[in-house]
Every structure is written in C-alpha cells, then in structure tokens.
C-alpha cells in the first residue's frame, strides 16, 4: 500500500511538474529537436560506424589490416620481416 502510494506520488510529481512548466517548455523543445537531429539525421546519414555490418571476426581483421597498412608500419615492418 505504501509502495503504491509512493509510486502514485512520484508519478504525480512528474505529471504536475510537466503540466506546470513555463520556461521549461522551450528547453524541452530544444532537447527534443537536438535529439532528433542527432539520432534521426546525423547518426544514420553522417555517422555510420566504420565497422558497421561486419561480424566480430571481420571487424578484427579490418582493424588489424588497417593497423598494418599504415604508411609507416607497412614498409618498416616488412623490411624487418625480411631480415
């Protein structure tokens, strides 16, 4: 019973709080607009993870190849292997 009352009290705190907001409304608009731009525009169109779509092993191989294909790493490492 106490828990139920407590939960009801907490829910009322939030609903009343949102209903009685004045200057907070514009801030919520700003937050929602920002989240929309971040997750609906930037993330899918400009910030797809470079390793997206690969399974764990493919990711590992892609990174290892990337690390060993670096301009400084490749010739020096190859020369050392030849020695």
């Amino acid at each position: 019973m106490n828990l139920k009352n407590g939960l009801r009290h907490a829910v009322r705190l939030y609903t009343d709080g949102f209903r009685q907001m004045t200057w907070g409304r514009i801030l919520w608009v700003l937050i929602l607009a920002k989240l929309f731009v971040l997750f609906a525009i930037l993330r899918p169109f400009f910030f797809r993870p470079a390793l997206a779509g690969l399974d764990e092993e493919e990711k590992r191989e892609a990174v290892a190849d990337g690390l060993l294909r670096q301009p400084a790493a490749a010739p020096a490492a190859a020369a050392e292997t030849d020695n």
């Binding site: 200057w23 801030l27 920002k34 400009f46 590992r60 690390l67 490492a77 050392e80």
Partner: protein, 489 residues
C-alpha cells in the same frame, strides 16, 4: 602520418570536445553553489535564499538542457572517424563509459526532476538531498569520462591481445582508480566549481551595475566568491599534482609546455620568453629544486632521469616499435597458417616490444614533438587567467564581506568580465592536455595517424561544417535563453 583526413578528423573532434566543455564545467559549478545556497535556506528558513537558489537552479536547467547529449557526438565520432582506435581500446573504454551512462546519468536524471518539480511537494530535506545528488550525479559522470581520458594519457591495467587486436582489461581497479585519473578528475571538477562560481559572481555583478536585484546579487556573490576562492586554490593544488604526473608519464608534454629544448637539473621556469625563474621548473615537476627535467631534444636523444632510470632515445623506441609491428604481422600470418611454434615465437617477440608499439608508426623523430608554441602559450593563458580570476574572486568576497562592493564599480566590471576569462582558461587547459600529448591517441601505443578511420577527407570536412553550424545555432539559442532568464529575474 598526417594529411587532410587526419587534420580534419582532429579538428572535428576538437571542435566537439571544446563545445561540450562549455557546458560541463558550468553544470558542475552551478550544481555545487546552488546546493550550498539551498542548504543555507534549509538551515535558516530565509525565503530570500530559497528564491536565490531557485534562480540559479533555473540557470542550471538552461545550461543542462542545451549541453545534454553534446557528449554523445564524441561517441559517434569514435565509431565513425576513429574506428581503429575504438576497436583497439574498446575493451577498456566500454566499462567506464557504460558505468557513466547507466549509473551517473540515471542518477542525475532522476534527482534533477525532483529538484525542479519537487519544490513544495516533497520535504525540504528530501529536496535538498535531491539537489546535492543531482550535482553528485554530474560529478560521477565526469569521473568515468576522466578515467577514460586519463587512461589514454597513461595506459595501465591492460594487455594487448594480438588475437583479438584489442587491449584487454586485466585490472579494473588499476584503470578505474589510477592515481593519475584521480588527479585529473579533481583538477577538472574543481575547475568546474571555479567556472560556476565566476559565472554566478559575474552575473551578480551585472545586477549590481544595473542596480537590480541587489540583495540577491550580494548574497550570491558572498557564497559564490568564497566558493571561487576555495576552488581556485584547489585547482592550483591539483594542477601541481597533475604537473608531477605529466613530468613522470608524459615528459614531452611538459617540455613542450615549457618550450624547453635542453633540460637538466635545477631547470628554470619560463614565465614568458626571456623571463625565467631559476630552479622553478624542477620544483614544479619534481618538488626538488635540483630535480632533473628533460627538454624535447633530451627526450629524442635519450636521457637518464633524476632517479637514475635510463630512457631510450626516440630512434631506439621507433626501432622497437617496428619490431613490435613486425611481430604482430608475423603472429597473424602464423595464426592463419596454423603454425603454433611461429605463432608463439611472434607473440613472445611482440610482448617484448609492445610498450613501444605506437612508435612503429612514427616516420620521423620530429613527429614526436607536439605543437610547442600552442602548448606553451595555452599553458601560460591558463595559469595567468587562473591567477587573475583568483584575485578577482578574493576581492569580490572581501569587498562584499565589508559591505563595500556596491560602491566599487570597477570591481563589478572586473567580476562581469571574468566570465569569458574563466571559459578561455578552461579551454586553454584542455589544449595543454590534448595538444600536448600529440602525436598520441594512446600514449606510446597508438598515434592519431594510426587511430583514424579510412574515410574520405571531404566527408569529414563536410561533417565538420555541419557541426560548426549546429553548435553555433545551439550556442546562440543558449546564450539568448540565458540572457532572457537573467534579464527577467
């Protein structure tokens, strides 16, 4: 290393981090000062303090709303622009960032609602606890982010596994509670307190200059200026500790911050070029007037430190880095061929040289020296402005205490103009920390050139300008909303 892809990727990350850091310190600082103000209200029952605390909570809310989620963009960039890096350290970064997201963020989000919606609905004590816990949540968030940053500057508690191509955590406590992380956290958080204090005194000085809300302004200055003085002294103390860490773990950064080519015992501290304090750098770097501090050339050529430990030259480190990369290549080839003996031999060779793994990517010794003028002047800007801010805060507190602040117009102007200075000092501090550690994404293990994803420079350039536009719009929005809230108070 280098090229437009790397430069644009770095510029984009720097832009995002600098923008994010406009909001974080003010959140941390306002959280502390408004909690102190509410504590005074609860203790005295004086309604003026309640209104004062409510006003600064409103400013906190605006800053929080505009700043929230700007840090997420950094995580987008990790996955897209720095995929090699993200994979290479994912096992280390995952834990602190996940804890930050789950524990600290939810704690902050829960109690912030009680703080804003709970006035007159929950008991005074519970409301006050929520206000303090909102600040604590924000501070805990900072802890985990700074643990991750500190690990990049001084990687500990992990082992490189050539099978997974990852640095894997072997000691969570070494990572999460590294002394360097604690110092970095304390330095960053106290600088945030200073930002909050300077912001509040600055806005209050504006009220005094306009002869408005004078009671609230003077009350705010008494609390915030005292906080500002204490915070500034703590920033100095933690900065001193941070200097010791940098001298021990990143001597090149220290040498760059001092523009020191040739070091030695009893090294002088450069105030500005041509003006030096003999022995001071040794005191700052080692707490010993005769302590040895290497210069950039000493580090490249190899040196023996004050404790008799020999540090190899850059050429030797680069050689060992190439051996580590060759062993890594051999390990992968042997693994593919199923040759167990060759695989074990390569792993052994890799373990011998892995501490210098990143040096294998360095083509020229000169790449190991960061941008000296930028780091040198940023350090002086940070320290100089920090000292000036301490002086202004101390004078504000003293004059407010004596009841003479309302007549001291020049000091009110100084308080107001301290606001941009505290932001510049904070940004300069991060330039010292981050530009000073170049070329490393992870100290000695991965240079930025190897950490960056293989993308087209044009696409990174495009997103840079998209961010610049978004950040500018958001910043203008915040400043306008803040100014309106301050004007209408």
């Amino acid at each position: 290393m280098g090229g437009p892809l790397l430069e644009w990727s770095r510029a984009q990350f720097a832009l995002t981090a600098c923008y994010h850091w406009l909001f974080v310190p003010l959140t941390l600082g306002l959280a502390l000062v408004m909690a102190i103000m509410e504590s005074i209200y609860v203790r005295t029952g004086d309604e003026t303090w309640k209104k004062t605390a409510q006003f600064w909570q409103k400013i906190f809310g605006i800053n929080f709303a505009v700043g929230v989620a700007t840090g997420l963009i950094l995580e987008f960039e990790f996955g897209t622009n720095w995929s090699n890096y993200s994979w290479f350290v994912g096992d280390i970064f995952g834990a602190p960032l996940a804890i930050e997201g789950i524990v600290a963020f939810f704690m902050e989000a829960t109690f912030i609602a009680v703080m804003f919606f709970g006035w007159n609905k929950v008991g005074r004590g519970f409301h006050l606890a929520s206000t303090w816990l909102t600040g604590l949540g924000a501070t805990l968030s900072a802890w985990w982010i700074l643990v991750a940053n500190s690990w990049m500057q001084h990687p500990v508690g992990m082992e490189f596994n050539p099978e997974t191509v990852r640095n894997e955590m072997v000691d969570f406590f070494a990572v999460a509670f590294a002394p360097e992380a604690a110092v970095k956290f304390a330095h960053a958080v106290t600088s945030g307190w200073m930002t909050g204090a300077v912001f509040i005194t600055g806005v209050s000085c504006w009220y005094l200059l306009r002869r408005r809300n004078q009671r609230m302004a003077l009350d705010s200055i008494r609390v915030a200026a005292a906080t500002g003085v204490v915070a500034a002294l703590l920033v100095m103390f933690t900065g001193d500790q941070s200097g010791l860490d940098v001298a021990r773990n990143q001597p090149m950064k220290l040498a760059a911050a001092e523009g020191l080519e040739r070091g030695g015992k009893g090294a002088a501290f450069s105030i500005v070029p041509g003006v030096e304090v003999p022995g001071m750098l040794s005191i700052l770097a080692t707490h010993d007037p005769q302590g040895y501090v290497p210069g950039t050339r000493d580090i490249l050529e190899g040196y023996t430190d004050g404790e008799g430990q020999a540090h190899p030259s850059a050429a030797e480190k680069m050689e060992r880095g190439r051996l580590a990369l060759a062993a890594f290549r051999d390990f992968r080839a042997a693994d593919l061929a199923g040759d167990t003996n060759a695989r074990n031999e390569a792993r052994k060779q890799l373990e011998t040289h892995v501490d210098y793994f990143g040096y294998g990517y360095i083509q020229s010794e000169e790449e190991l020296i960061p941008n000296v003028p930028l780091v040198y002047w940023s350090f002086r800007a940070m320290v100089g402005m920090g000292c000036l801010l301490l002086l202004v805060q101390a004078l504000l507190w003293w004059q407010a205490r004596r009841g003479r602040l309302e007549q001291t117009r020049w000091l009110q102007h100084a308080g107001l103009w301290s606001i941009p200075l505290v932001y510049l000092a904070g940004q300069a501090g991060w330039i010292v920390a981050e530009v000073g550690r170049q070329p490393w994404a992870i100290q000695d293990l991965l240079p930025v050139g190897a950490a960056v994803s293989s993308l087209s420079a044009a696409s990174v350039q495009t997103t840079f300008f998209i961010f610049l536009a978004i950040f500018t719009v958001l910043l203008v929005a915040e400043v306008r909303i803040l100014c309106r809230a301050i004007r209408n108070a």
